[in-house]
Amino acid sequence: MDICSATIHKLAAAYRSGETDPVAATEAFLERIEKVDGKLNAYIRTTADEALARAKEAKTRLEGDDASILTGIPLGIKDLMCTRGITTTCGSKILENFVPPYNATVIERLRDQGAVMLGKTNMDEFAMGSSTEASCFGPTRNPHNTDYIPGGSSGGSASAVAADLCCAALGSDTGGSIRQPASYTGIVGLKPTYGLVSRFGLVAFASSLDQIGPMTKDVRDAAILLDAIAGHDGRDSTSLEMDPPDFTEFLDRGVDTLRVGVPKEYFGEGLDEEVGARVMEMVGVLEKGGAKIVDVSIPRTEHALAAYYIIAPSEASSNLARYDGVRYGFREAGPKDSLIDMFRKSRSGGFGPEVKRRIMLGTYALSAGYYDAYYKKALQVRRLLSDDLEAAFSKVDIIACPAAPTPAYKIGEKMEDPLAMYLGDVYTVTANLAGIPGMSVPAGLNSQGLPIGVQLLAKPLGEQFIFQAASYLEENNPHHTPKPDL
C-alpha cells in the first residue's frame, strides 16, 4: 500500500490486517518529509527520534487490546501547541528557543491514544496572517503549485496533509486559519464550536476566538480526530462542560433531513466567479440528495470583518504583553539598559512586522479616547452578527458558502498590502466571532489547477450537521481533487 497517502481509518485498518505497522509507517513519512519538504517548508522541525520511540510503543500496544484508532498514526502539529521538551516557536523569533515545560491538553489526549507526532508545522507568526509567509522560518508553499501560498495561518499543517507529509494534522483557527488553508490545499479542515476543544497549552492569539481543530484527508478522519481531542478540560475555564457525542456516527446519513441556507452576502462583490459557481454546484449536489435549500441573510457579514480586525488585534495586544524577555523567549539588552529598555529591545527585535502591526492596532483600539469608538463598537457589532446567525439557524441546519473569496494567490502578492490580505478573511471570521463550527470541504480544482473549498457552518455544537452534509458532499462530489504532483 501507499502508506503516506492513506487516511487515518485506512492506516489503522492496515495496522490491524498486518499490512504495515506504526514503525514502518513512521519511517515512510520521515523519509518522504526528507525527500519533499525542501520544496514546501511545511515543517519547522521534525521530531524523528521521539516519533520512532512512540511508534515502537504503538506497535506493542497494537498487539494488545487497548489500542485506539489513533494508535501509531503519524500526525503533524502546528507549532503553537505546547509540547513538553520539544521547542514550540509559534513561527516567531521571540520563541525561537522556547521549550515548554508542559504539554497542551490536546497533545496529552493524542499521546494517551498512542498517536505519533512527526514534527511541528510552520505557521504565520503567532497565527497572525492568512498565507504562512509571515513565519520567521520562511514561507510554506502550496503543494498544488509551489509558486502559490498554502493559505494560513495553519499553512504548514495544510501543506503537510495535502502533500502526504503526515496522515493528518492539528491546526488552530482564530479567523479562518484552519478553513482557509484547507480550502487552498484541497483538504478537510474543521474549526469546532468555541469551547469544544481545550485551549490549555495553545499559545494565545485572541482568546475569545481561538480554537484548535483537525486538518485531514477526508471527512471521516476529521470526525476521528475531533473525537480524540474534544471534551471538557478543567484547565481551560472556557471549556464547555459536556460529553461530546461520537462524531463518526453522523457520517453517511444522507442529507434528506437537512435544511441548507445560502446567504446572499457570501456571494457578492469580490467573490471569484469560478469559486462562486463551484460552491453553488455543491449546493446543487446537496439539493439533489434531498436537502431543502433556503435563502438566508447575514446582513452584518461585511461589518463583521471590520469588527474582527478590531477585536482580534485588541486581544492579541493584551495576550502578547507577556513577551518581555524576562521569563522565557528572546532577550535583547545592552549592559547599561534599564528594565524598560530591555522590554522594548526584546519585543522590537523578537516580533516580526505583522505581529507588530496587530499589537499597534490593538493597543490603539484599547487606548483612552478610542476604546468606545473602536473596541466597544466592534463588540456590539459582534453581538448583532451573532443575532443574524442565530436567526438564520432558526430556519436552517447548515449554511453553505465559500471558504475564501478567491483560490490561493502567489507568494509575495499581498505582503505589502495588509488590508488586502485581511479582506480575504470575510467569509471565515463570522464563525469565530459567533463561536460556531465551520468546515472547509474540498470541491475540486479551478481552471488553473488550484483547489476550491466549500464552507459549511452550523449553530453552536451543530458539528453533527456539518459531518452529515460534508460526508455526503465528499461521496457525491463530481469534482475530484487530485494529489499534488511533487
Binding site: P101, Y194, G195, S208, S237, R327, S348
Partner: protein, 100 residues
Amino acid sequence: MSDKDAKITKNEVEYVARLARLDLTDRETERMTDNINDILTYMEKLGEVDTTDVPPMTHAIPKQNVMRPDTVVPFKDTDEILANAPESKDTLFKVPKVIE
C-alpha cells in the same frame, strides 16, 4: 492621504508604540502610519451600524466564572521553567537593575 484626512498621525503612532513597548525605526513608523490609516479608514464601516442599546459581546459563548477547589499541588518542574529564562540566578529570574 493628506494630514487632515489622516485617522492617525505619525506622532500618535510613536505614542502608541511607547504604550506597546515597541521601538520602531523611522521607516517602520512611516509604514505603520500608512498601514494603520488604511485599516482605520476601512473601519469607518463600523459607523454605519446602529448599535444603540446593543450590549457588547465579549465572548462567543455565554460564560459564568468558573471556580475550582483551592488545593495546593506541589510543583516540581522549576528547572525546566528556569531553563527557558534568558538569565536566572538560583530559583529567580534575573533582570536589569530596576532601582538606581
